[in-house]
């Protein structure tokens, strides 16, 4: 369907278009997936994609965008580290008249285009699932991502919104496990010591931590008494959902985000109009529908 | 004791305890204006501790210090220095990365605060003046770390006298100096005396004491023993006061026949250090190496031991030419080396006496790959007894031993590797007279057991008293090889000062 893309992505001067992309963290599986799809689409479209890793630092991200501007790339894709702190990058790109597309999450300064979804919503979906499962009554623990990061803040916000709606749900403890599986496992073990079977559900801000919680609960023989829900739908999590150890995860479509982002970048670079906002909805993944999310083995 | 206005310094009832151990017990000391007051005592008697309290580096438990009749605040270096006390420390107290001038004026750069401005040109000029006055040819902008120990010691002296102090403490100021520099120092001391400066002088070199001291105070084991005019004492009486008994002859007669050649070097050179040095040593022989400071004696020893490379020449062990690349090679060929710098190259301070003694022969104490504590302890205990090392137990950290005993630990370590030839570089530096006698005895014992010994020393009596032959080096060159009969202080010095 992209037969004319190679030709189409020549800029005005016939030079190959260059798109710079700065990604939140190339150590995060979901982001790597988004980036892989971007790379694939860019190649299909005959665009040169320069990917750099912001390593979760907004400062680094701003600097990388500055560097893209100095290199005079044709478009910039940013997977923002922070809502506020990554905003100067957007402002700088716009000031330099280089289109900038935010992928996956947003910044407070509005970019040329946005492709992604609202993290708050993912947490709402996850927490809602817990509330339904528990019938609106029970004790919940929550595992935060790295404190102060946008994803952590938004996911906490979404979770708390739902908790407010269900006065029967009690958040008995919440603590950071820094997005990390091993840390989450330690934390869950300690909580088990504290609360024993008094915990009814675990909400983890990402699947890595969710998997850690599952492992600790399984080891303690409590898994069938405690619901665990997390976000991202990484392959491990999908597998766990299929096995029934993880009760649910929330799917974000990495492929769509990646391909739409490149599409927007190419169009904007060529001065064509694009949708200001492309929202890619989250989907709750449970045992019932997990099959449709599982990737066929490569 | 009534207050006497002649006394610039009065110390009374001073007691200092290190974690329960009394290092000083009710010590007193009175020093007159313009006198050289020697403070004597064996290693570990408490001399340095007393002086460190005086300058404020340590805090006394009790007792009082009066300077000009006014009490001196305890444990405040600044105050002590401001009130006119300066000190040459036993351990060289230099900042290696700073220059000579910067070291001399450290702490006194400006009169201002921490944020005062530096003027290094000015410091350099002042330092140059000072060094010129003392007749030392060291550039003031040389970094301290590039100086020889002797030069550093001279800089320390310059630092102390530049302070316009009225009491100058000299804690073993000549331990690394040769006679020439010592003469310079004594000249300076006499000048200072003229100006009414009081000098507290600590040394283990008896001849120095009787040359320069007016009054002598003796400490023994942290106790005040007594104060006498130097004129009322002679060496034997002084030693008796210090050690509490008579000491026999320092250099016992030894007549051992020399055996086969153990080590010989032929025309060995090391660029920039020494050239064309040839000699040999035989079983049961002591070869003394004499020379002035910087003559290259240490460099020769280090090269033979594999710490430095020789650039040309040949080393033979028992007639066989060998190549020595590292101390490990040297040890394997039966060479042992006791460095002149025992802190730097001798012992590991935080290992125990036992562990230091076995360090060079550790693989001999293993079974199935594991260390045999008992075998180590046995060997170390025997060595401690043989060398009469004074230590509470073999498990004592060497750090807490007195200098002489640290030296013996290093010798013990070298001996345990069963060498055929031992190189002793300044084996008695900083060591008290009693310990010296023991080390001399030990050298004779080693000799009797058929070990070949090369002894480097700046103390001519020592060289003359122990050596069977004497090699004299001058500026890295071989000036003479003298037999015991030919050698006198005069002939050695004549050769040493050649060129």
């Amino acid at each position: 369907n992209q037969s004319d893309s190679t030709q189409a992505s020549q800029g005005d001067g016939g030079k190959k278009l260059v798109v710079g992309a700065t990604m939140l963290s190339m150590q995060n599986e979901f982001i790597v997936n988004v980036n892989d799809e971007m790379a694939k689409q860019a190649e299909d479209a005959g665009v040169e994609l320069i990917t750099v890793d912001a390593e979760r630092s907004a400062l680094k991200q701003v600097e990388q965008v500055e560097s893209f501007i100095a290199q005079k790339v044709d478009a910039i894709i940013m997977n923002p580290c922070e809502v506020e702190a990554s905003s100067p990058a957007v402002a700088k790109a716009l000031a330099a008249k280089i289109p900038i597309i935010n992928v996956n999450s947003e910044t407070s300064t509005k970019p040329s285009a946005f492709v992604g979804s609202d993290d708050v919503e993912s947490a709402r979906i996850a927490m809602k699932f817990i509330a339904d499962k528990l019938g609106g009554k029970g004790n919940i623990v929550m595992m935060h991502g790295y404190m102060g990061q946008a994803a952590q803040i938004k996911r906490e916000q979404g979770a708390r919104e739902i908790l407010k709606q269900y006065p029967g749900l009690k958040l008995i403890a919440h603590q950071t496990a820094e997005w990390d599986r091993a840390k989450a496992m330690d934390l869950m073990e300690n909580w088990i010591q504290s609360y024993g079977s008094g915990v009814n559900a675990v909400f983890a801000h990402n699947d890595e931590m969710g998997m850690g919680a599952v492992k600790a609960l399984t080891d303690a023989g409590l898994k069938n008494k405690v619901i665990v829900v997390s976000i991202d739908a990484i392959p491990d999590a999908l597998q766990a959902v299929q096995k029934g150890t993880l009760d649910a995860t929330v799917f974000q479509n990495a492929e769509q985000q990646g391909s739409k982002a490149i599409e927007a970048a190419v169009k904007l670079a060529k001065g064509q109009a694009v949708e200001k906002e492309t929202l890619i909805p989250f989907q709750l993944v449970t045992k019932d529908n997990v099959a449709q999310f599982m990737k066929k083995p490569e | 004791m009534p207050f006497d206005r002649d006394y610039v310094l009065t110390i009374r009832g001073l007691t200092k305890t290190f974690s329960g151990v009394k290092a000083l017990d009710n010590v007193e000391l009175t020093v007159r204006q313009g006198e050289v007051h020697a403070l004597m005592g064996e290693n570990g008697a408490g001399k340095s501790t007393l002086m460190k309290i005086l300058i404020g580096l340590l805090t006394a438990d009790s007792g009082e210090i009066l300077l000009d009749g006014h009490e001196l605040k305890n444990g405040d270096v600044n105050e002590a220095m401001k009130r006119g006390i300066a000190m040459i420390h036993q351990e060289i107290m230099a900042v290696p990365e700073l220059t000579v001038a910067q070291n001399i004026f450290l702490g006194r750069e400006t009169t201002g605060s921490l944020f005062g401005w530096l003027n290094d040109n000015h410091l350099n000029q002042q330092a140059k003046q000072l060094l010129d006055q003392m007749g030392i040819s060291i550039r003031p902008d040389t970094r301290m770390k590039y100086l020889s120990v002797a030069e550093m010691q001279m800089v320390e002296i310059a630092k102390a006298i530049s302070n316009d102090a009225r009491v100058i403490i000299m804690d073993e100021p000549t331990s690394a100096l040769s006679d020439k520099e010592v003469a310079t120092l004594f000249g300076i001391i006499r000048d200072l005396k003229q100006k009414g400066v009081a000098i507290i002088y600590i040394s283990h070199k008896m001849d120095e004491i009787f040359t320069i001291a007016d009054t002598i105070t003796v400490l023994r084991d942290g106790q005040y023993i007594g104060t006498r005019p130097a004129a009322d004492l002679d060496i034997d009486r002084l030693i008796a006061m210090m050690v509490g008994r008579e000491l026999g002859s320092l250099f016992p007669e030894s007549s051992i026949r020399k055996g086969n050649e153990v080590l010989s070097v032929r025309r060995i050179s090391r660029t920039g250090a020494f050239s064309d040095v040839s000699f040999s040593v035989h079983e049961g022989e002591v070869l003394g190496i004499a020379g002035l400071m910087g003559a290259g004696r240490t460099e020769v020893a280090r090269a033979i031991f594999g710490l430095d490379r020789i650039s040309s020449g040949e080393i033979r062990i028992k007639g066989q030419p060998v190549v020595i690349r590292s101390p490990q090679d040297a040890i394997q060929y039966g060479i042992g080396y006791v460095s002149e710098d025992r802190k730097g190259w001798g012992f590991v301070p935080r290992l125990s006496v036992k562990q230091n003694i076995t360090l060079a022969s550790l693989p001999n104490h293993t079974k199935g790959g594991l260390l045999q504590e008992k075998s180590e302890t046995d060997v170390a205990t025997k060595m401690i007894a043989d060398l009469r090392i004074k230590t509470a137990s073999p498990d004592q950290h060497v750090l807490y031993l007195s200098g002489g005993n640290q030296q013996k630990v290093v010798i013990g370590k070298v001996l345990l590797a069963s060498p055929d030839v031992i190189i002793l570089d300044e084996p008695t530096r900083g060591i008290d007279i009693g310990a010296k006698a023991e080390i001399y005895k030990l050298i004779n014992q080693l000799k009797a057991s058929g070990i070949a010994i090369i002894m480097i020393s700046s103390e001519l009596p020592e060289i003359l008293g122990l050596s069977d032959r004497i090699l004299v080096l001058t500026k890295g060159k071989q000036a003479a090889m003298l037999s015991k009969e030919e050698a006198t202080q005069e002939t050695i010095m004549a050769y040493a000062m050649q060129y």
Partner: protein, 325 residues
């Protein structure tokens, strides 16, 4: 020389010496006990067998790393690449551990071998160049992280074999495997440090490198050995971690080096080299683990957890040093 009273022969000195060395070891132990007693009084959930079991299991990874870095620090060096080595070795092991492709010894050996090579590389660069260990291992820390990501393509490696997962998750006679590994390695490392020639040489090299050299010790061999052992222990930690979370994680172990070094220093190993014991390091690691567990049990909010953690660690070491005065 019978009349001479030598200060070193005084019985007091002996007792002083032993007291110092006893306290030196006991100091942090006392602080550790204080923290434990305090926690037991505050919450009944602390002093239970399962909870203590969990603490030790959690501590095991940091302790393994801390043992390795204790060797290194005793020789006067430092190893910042620990965390990255955990990741690399964990990923390597995971690559060979996927669902029953190889017998379990293959991933274990592969992981250990990669750690050995990594550590040996550190040692090689440090001994052959004059670059300070801080820079060398900071460099290999970055390199190692990159390698782990390259090897794993940036993704977790999961579906590991059950036999592999047993290493970190299984139990033997009711005792979790990581505890058993910890105890065995503690014994081995203690023996190496106290009972072998190599251990003695580590103290000598760190205590006075020149004197060690003049005693015929091959300094470079000793340094090669400690960095290699640090790599091996990091590999073991990596394998335990990978097995415990049943996944090879390229971003595992970030920041672990600081915890491990902290454990060693809290336990009395001096950064200037020449001193340190495995027992001290173990206590240091346990102290960190106990505090972290206690704060979770007490449900201290995560912001304040960090503050309290910092305060207690500094406090414990202050207590230790006051004790030693």
């Amino acid at each position: 020389m019978k009349n001479t009273i030598d200060p070193y022969l005084k019985p007091v000195r002996e007792s002083y010496r032993t007291r110092v060395s006893r306290l030196g070891k006991a100091g942090i132990f006392v602080a550790f006990i204080v923290v434990c007693v305090a926690l037991s009084l505050i919450t009944p959930r602390f002093l239970t067998v399962p909870n203590l079991m969990i603490i030790v299991t959690q501590v095991s990874i940091n302790a393994l790393l801390a043992f390795g870095v204790t060797f290194v620090i005793i020789t006067g060096g430092i190893d910042l690449s620990l965390g990255s080595m955990v990741a690399v070795t964990g990923v390597v092991a995971a690559l060979f551990a996927r669902s029953e492709t190889y017998p379990v010894v293959v991933p274990i050996l592969a992981g250990l071998l990669s750690g050995l090579l990594f550590g040996a590389f550190n040692g090689f660069v440090i001994t052959r160049s004059k670059v300070p260990p801080f820079i060398v291992t900071l460099g290999t820390m970055t390199i190692g992280r990159g390698l782990a990501l390259i090897l794993s393509k940036g993704r977790p490696i999961s579906n590991l074999s059950d036999s592999f997962n047993f290493i970190g998750g299984g139990q033997l006679l009711g005792v979790p495997m990581p505890i058993i590994i910890l105890v065995v390695l503690f014994a081995v490392c203690s023996v190496i440090l106290r009972k072998t020639v190599l251990g003695r040489y580590m103290y000598a090299v760190g205590g006075n490198e020149q004197a060690a050299k003049a005693s015929g010790i091959q300094i470079n061999n000793v340094k090669m050995a400690v960095y290699t052992m640090s790599g091996l222990l990091a590999a073991l930690a990596g394998i335990v971690l990978t097995s415990r979370i049943t996944t090879g994680q390229p971003n595992a172990g970030a920041g672990f080096e600081l915890d491990a070094i902290a454990a060693a220093i809290i336990g009395g190993t001096s950064t200037s080299g020449g001193t340190g014991t495995m027992a001290g390091t173990l206590i240091g690691a346990l102290l960190i683990g106990v505090i972290s567990n206690g704060l979770d049990l007490l449900n201290v909010s995560s912001y304040y957890q960090q503050v309290v953690m910092g305060v207690i660690i500094i406090g414990a070491v202050v207590l230790d040093s006051v004790n030693q005065k």
